[in-house]
Subunit: 452 residues, 2 copies
């Protein structure tokens, strides 16, 4: 059942849409999953995509709506009246998806959609979910879950499950609560069906199930589920009452998103970019870092300008400027990325700052020593100017140690200040270290010129 | 039940270990999950960790063994005879974990462990799993699963499940096979328990379940599970026979690993590094890229050396070398990271190469225009040397366009050549673009000197 998007299929579909051959269109996509249809729609132009979308029926249409990119969804929903949004889409969705889609609408439209909904309980759940911050456990969780009372037996439970489970796609765990709806434990469906029907639930529950509070950050949610290999995680309020559950598929998306964000940040791209974005948006995400780079370059020019006597005395000094700058930049990026990653993974942020620094500095020291010897040998044999040879290798040594120091300290400081340390990687650290490298280079050169 | 590692707890534990107070030690960690104990062990020195580990009983000890870092596990198992490895650890593990741990042993030890195992079927499963490449679906999958025949009824199934499910931690889906063990479909446990017991299984199975072949790459596995929000994915052989299943927790680890690898690659760190690694290993992963950077710097020095007349005529030319190099590097990294990411995510690699290039070049062109105007204005007002002003801004324009061209083309070419395009980000692209930038700078300057 492998789905492989290919040009011929798209061309054929475009043809069918042009002919308005509705039956054939529906036939040709009938085997596909919502995620596949969303992918197909991205290959069509927006009118064709809309035409295709309107042919889909209730459940499938709302599944596809969840899968398409946010901008397309917004544009599409903007054209529809609130009652259509409610009856054709929101009512078919699980509460977490419904809340996510609703959050993208204007507030007055939200209110109208909620009022139009026929299932008042569902509308109430969505309204509750909309109250939570979107980056918290409350903002990610769904309210559809199967909860059973700890005083029931297996038999009562199984009966109750088949009632409660009507609305839920999949059940992985059953949540056990007390009379006050406080979470007491978790029961796997497997355990339940393997037990004699008269067994009291209380005796089956393992105490100490993992749970998070509604205000836990999405990073914390991801860390807990990853560490303990959980498929679903219950969410509770301040006094421990069960409010919802988070499933692993949403967490996979969060992990992917966070990783992409850090990667782009390290590459000097701010904000999320994807294939569909236009040239202006793409350029916009890069300009801030390029601007920082340019300002750094201008400062660097200033540094060199104020030390121009060294450059006039030995013009060959200038030749090694790119080398010093590049090495400073590379070392800085290496050090900072290791720190940023260890901060992001969260788990073992237990090492004292002192220990982290010492480790990084030892690495900095050993690589600095190695490369300053290498460049010394190169210059000694190939350029023959001793002042230059000494200046470049001593500079490289100092610069590499400073660069690894900066690369380590800056993310740690930002983290303390509650700023995302990922901003400190990439162009930021490269620029800082470029300037630093030039200052050290010129200062060392001056010292040698004064002495030798 | 929130686990928070703190210094006092570790100090107390170290104290207890020193006193060999076994009962208290076991008591103090009795509430913890295997993943927590592994984390605690990382905070102890290796003898303390070993002491703690030996106090754990069978099931828990093998769970912890799976969670600790590979190097620690190898060191620990090296000291044990094959029969202890078999009876105390491997026999308690699920087949996928057992095969992963076994793969880390020498081949003759593997053979002995397998022979020592009492459950011959389990030993056979592990031996089979060891045949697969570790990066493929076969290498990740576990053989523990519940398979039922399509000709059975719900009742027979439920009975069979309680027999088959003894060895399995969790069941999310039941796999339906025909008489030849060919996968026919998937059934959720929920659906099964909600149906009347005499219902034939055949009528419940949805056709076209997602599956992968044993030789599918781990990236493909991750993509399929992510896209279709699957919790478990069946793995089949060439003729469709059910061989195993992959669960989402293993895929989460793969996604995290891949993201970390790409991030480190972009930061100029080859190979996986984590907090526990020593200074030598840490330095080793950075040296290749630093070496490339240094060679680039030396080539750069050569380029400048062969154009020294321009630098002697206008020494201020040298001041802008860092700016040109930095901008070239930044633009290159930005372009390449976008391409690498879109290649890695796999899903929408449908855009033709031409379209990707045009998009990137448009972004390159617009940012190049913006920044060359900015630097023109800066130099015009603050330096006043017109030859310098023209040279720098024209160079910047050309360099930025070339850098985005290179940043786009190199990863695409590497990808065509089946080389991981991630190697092209970070230091590699920075170094290439540095040199390119200097050549363009010196060439443009020469043209202006000849003309003006």
């Amino acid at each position: 059942m492998k789905f492989e998007l290919n040009r011929e299929f798209i061309d054929q579909l475009v043809e069918l849409i042009a002919q308005k051959a509705d039956a054939e269109i529906i036939q040709s996509i009938s085997e596909f999953h919502a995620a596949d249809i969303a992918e197909i729609m991205e290959e069509l132009d927006s009118e064709e995509a809309q035409y295709l979308f309107l042919l889909l029926d209730g459940e499938l249409a709302s599944d596809v709506l969840i899968e398409i990119p946010e901008n397309d969804r917004k544009r599409f929903l903007k054209a529809l009246p609130p009652d259509v949004i409610a009856h054709r889409f929101i009512e078919f969705m699980e509460s977490d998806d419904a809340a996510d889609v609703m959050a993208e609408l204007d507030e007055d439209v939200q209110d109208e959609v909620l009022q139009q909904m026929e299932d008042k309980e569902q509308a109430g759940d969505i309204a509750d979910l909309l109250e939570y911050d979107e980056d918290t456990a409350g903002g990610i969780m769904a309210t559809e879950l199967v909860a059973v009372n700890e005083n029931w037996t297996v038999q009562t439970c199984l009966k109750e499950i088949s009632i409660q489970a009507e609305d839920i796609d999949e059940i992985y765990y059953v949540y056990v609560v007390d009379d006050n709806l406080v979470l007491r434990g978790v029961l796997s469906l497997k355990k339940l069906i393997m037990m004699p029907t008269h067994t009291p639930i209380k005796s089956l529950v393992t105490e100490g199930a993992h749970s998070v509070r509604t205000d836990a950050s999405q990073e914390e949610v991801a860390q807990v589920m990853e560490k303990y290999d959980l498929v679903a995680l219950p969410v509770v309020d301040q006094i421990g009452r069960l409010k919802g559950r988070i499933t692993i598929d949403d967490v996979v998306d969060i992990i992917r998103e966070e990783a992409d964000k850090d990667y782009q940040m390290a590459s000097g791209i701010s904000g999320d970019v994807d294939e569909g974005d236009n040239v202006f948006r793409r350029a916009w995400t890069r300009i801030p870092w390029l601007f920082i780079g340019m300002c750094g370059g201008i400062v660097g020019a200033g540094v060199l300008g104020s030390h121009s006597s060294q450059l006039t005395q030995i013009p060959a000094m200038a030749f090694f400027i790119p080398l010093i700058a590049a090495m400073a930049g590379n070392v800085g990026v290496q050090s900072s990325s290791i720190i940023v990653q260890s901060l992001a993974s969260g788990a073992r942020s237990f090492d004292s700052i002192g220990r982290k620094l010492i480790k990084e500095l030892s690495v900095g020291f050993s690589t600095a020593l190695l490369f300053s010897i290498l460049i010394f040998l190169y210059n000694f044999f190939f350029t023959g100017n001793m002042r230059l040879t000494y200046s470049v290798s001593i500079t490289l040594f100092i610069v590499m140690i400073f660069a690894s120091l900066f690369g380590t300290v800056i993310p740690l400081v930002l983290n303390k200040l509650k700023i995302d340390p990922a901003v400190a990687t990439g162009p930021f650290i490269t620029t800082t270290n470029d300037i630093l490298g030039l200052i050290i280079y010129m200062t060392v050169a001056k010292m040698f010129f004064d002495v030798l």
